[in-house]
Symmetry: C2
Subunit: 466 residues, 2 copies
């Protein structure tokens, strides 16, 4: 209607008349919850609010590393916005993060046989090299299994390089055994530094960061990711040269224990205020990009969805609680803290969903509750179909930050997103707002608002029957 | 035939028999020049030689900045390769480059109101900032015209930022007035540093370098390019903040006069050795990527084309000369030097073509000679049609390095390539071999070999009639 009126301004009087009649009609015949959900979904698309919020966050704040001043600014930004939107309660809950860390300079180069720069980025939590860097011969392994097959001491004095590619769908296989465990595995065999091919599916000259961890009792060695083309370059060079030497300089700083926060905002339920429907996303991001797809988009989606519900003439029956988790990137610290500190009220958590897989679109509704045939969930499933969301058969864990809730039997659902291009940008400098397409993020917001509204309005608890 | 035999190994005897019969037939009936050109083109595609050469160059040497040790290594690499290919003469011609330069660290950040890192890269030839950097308020201009409209002194103490986008086909409009002339225009109005939106068509977080120049009598200020998303970020922030402050650190070094070289390799003509058909490309590259599309691909294309001609049982009638120019990127220094130092033999240059627009494919044959209806050129034009090359109507200047030849009436042709994605990668760290598609570069090599072979075999001089 808005576009139509814009194109034909002379019709605006007619449009207004029609709108008045429509309102009169709607007042006379109360809309069903499904009709209201469909209307909210359409508003999410028409207003492009999720994209607007994500644009504001990534522009006005930028990157939001756990424990940083920027993450704190983002928390203030989000609280102000929720207050402006008229939420009934808005607060933050601080918690400590043990592994405070700040990136420094990061450079690398092949020094022989073919001197050239390499694009790398430190893995989150990596120790620094000496200021003058580390220069050593590399030991290149095409897979992490090849490295693990090496005997103790066999990498003494070398830079271990793992060039195992990450295919689509192989993030877990890469982030865990290579990015997280790889540095200590290399160090335990004598390596002085660790390089991995980025956990990414692109072929841009962009390295993908992400958290690593050190095993106790093993020397902590500097650890970084190479961009995919750089890893391929080393693969090619290793077929042509007996020995390759690399120099690495990394100057990150260990900040010890730092403080992060979860932001919590509520629309108090009109009939059952003690019953909570939770929408989550995470406010922190890696520091290289501006955290647009990870997880500015998620923040935009759940803030937009909840704002549209707040704008309804009446509060929903149950309480809608939005949680923007802090310090997700370094081990779901905010998610774990929430599950622990809200333990007493978790029985009142009716259901939870999270948006932390990029911009969407949402393609599948997976259910992670005890009774997936529960009638309300079937109603929601049917209501999401017109938005392009199919019924899934997997048991969902919901999302990273609500994983700890799922573990203690809070009912969760997965509004699963298209992620085939997510790991092209994930954890890189390229994760910026220009990569987000309005039609994708807005469909996601439409699905989340429809889900959240119906979950606050319909049915009962979705827990396993005792 | 090869693929066919591979799929049905039992047919290989039959294939070999057929091949023998074919050779016998070909020996009995001498192939026409057009038939040989078509055969050479097919070989360029079947062998994938252009891609192999480009891969070797970009892997074994990497980036090849004018005057650098790497450019010198590339020259040795190319000469050895031409010798291995059995060229009749291979030599290099050194020349001075006044503006030797080496990149250093390059970092930038918004310091207020929303602290965040910016991705920048120094423009080639830029002076350094002080080691501690320059921090100042920015004056943002959406177009270079807006900056030029400012009065003298109006930018005193500020960092001038030009965020004018570069559309497809607008490289000249951007590289000249903004990248080259922009820093002195800003300095003459009092600016302390200059930032521009990259001359690129991508939206990656990659800054595009490229040469700048300073006007005499104006202070030389540090000059760098922002990645496209960073320039867009500043556009958005400038709509929300009264004042934006940026800190820039650039530590490039001025190396004074350095030495570059042109590499020249010849197949001596069997009938008219004094008549020269010239194929050009440039051996130098910017330092951020490995110079795959700019201009490793061109090197691969002309080396492959000439190697296939060298492998014919008979030398072509005229001399085929391949020139790999040095120091193209900082002002076509090698191309100008060649035109000047070979002045005496330029009347013997029958025709010249260059490959310096990426991987192709070649779509249009444009003619830059006095008589575009010359029958030999019509023959060549017809011979290129089956390769997907259409007849063009523009008067070609040939290419950057042979531009100086064209200016003094050496006949040139333009084998014009598809370049709609060229400026996505051009002058960035992303210019690496993985971006080159075999079918694209091999089609280009097929076109160049067909052109070069026919130009060495057919007709006469293509000059304007006196």
């Amino acid at each position: 209607m808005r576009n139509f009126a814009n194109r034909f301004p002379s019709l605006s009087f007619l449009s207004i008349t029609a709108a008045i009649l429509l309102v009169a009609f709607q007042s006379a015949v109360a809309a069903s919850p499904e009709e209201t959900a469909a209307k909210l979904a359409q508003q999410a698309i028409d207003t492009s609010l999720a994209l607007e919020i994500t644009t504001d966050l990534t522009t006005e704040i930028g990157p939001r590393l756990y424990g940083s001043a920027s993450e704190k600014r983002a928390v203030q930004w989000a609280m102000k916005r929720f207050e402006r939107y008229g939420f009934d309660k808005v607060w933050s809950e601080p918690f400590p993060v043990e592994r405070g860390w700040e990136r420094g300079l990061e450079t690398a180069a092949i020094t022989s046989p073919a001197p050239q720069n390499l694009v790398i980025t430190a893995l989150g939590g990596s120790v620094a090299t000496p200021l003058e860097g580390i220069e050593a011969e590399i030991a290149l392994f095409k897979t992490i299994a090849d490295l693990l097959a090496q005997p103790e001491g066999s990498l003494t004095g070398k830079i271990a390089v793992v060039t195992q590619p990450m295919g689509i769908g192989e993030y877990g296989k890469t982030a865990g055994p290579i990015r997280s465990a790889g540095p200590s595995e290399a160090a335990s065999r004598g390596a002085v530094a660790f390089l991995m091919r980025s956990a990414g599916t692109d072929n841009d000259r962009m390295a993908h960061t992400g958290g690593t961890s050190y095993r106790s009792g093993v020397p902590r060695i500097p650890a970084a990711a190479l961009s995919v083309p750089d890893a391929q370059q080393l693969d090619r060079l290793s077929e042509r040269a007996d020995s390759i030497r690399i120099k690495i300089v990394l100057t990150p700083r260990d900040l010890g224990t730092v403080t992060s926060q979860n932001v919590i905002a509520e629309i108090t339920g009109s009939e059952k205020p003690e019953e909570i429907v939770l929408l989550g996303a995470h406010i922190d991001s890696w520091d290289l990009g501006t955290g647009a797809i990870d997880d500015g988009a998620g923040v935009g989606i759940v803030m937009a969805a909840s704002k549209l519900i707040r704008d309804l003439p009446q509060r929903p029956k149950r309480t809608l609680r939005v949680v923007l988790f802090g310090a997700e990137e370094i081990g779901i610290v905010g998610g774990r803290f929430y599950a622990e500190s809200h333990k007493a009220e978790l029985p009142n958590h009716i259901i939870a969903a999270e948006a932390d897989a990029g911009q969407g679109p949402v393609h599948t509704f997976n259910i992670g509750v005890g009774n997936p045939l529960e009638p309300t969930l079937s109603t929601i499933r049917d209501a999401l179909k017109p938005l392009g969301v199919q019924a899934g058969r997997a048991k969902s864990r919901g999302g990273p930050d609500i994983g700890p809730l799922s573990e203690v039997d809070v009912p969760v659902v997965g509004l699963d997103m298209f992620t085939e291009d997510y790991f092209d940008l994930h954890h890189t400098a390229n994760d910026t707002i220009d990569k987000i397409k309005p039609e994708r993020i807005n469909q996601s917001a439409a699905v989340y608002v429809a889900f959240a509204y119906l979950a606050t309005e319909l049915g009962g608890y979705y827990r396993a029957q005792p």
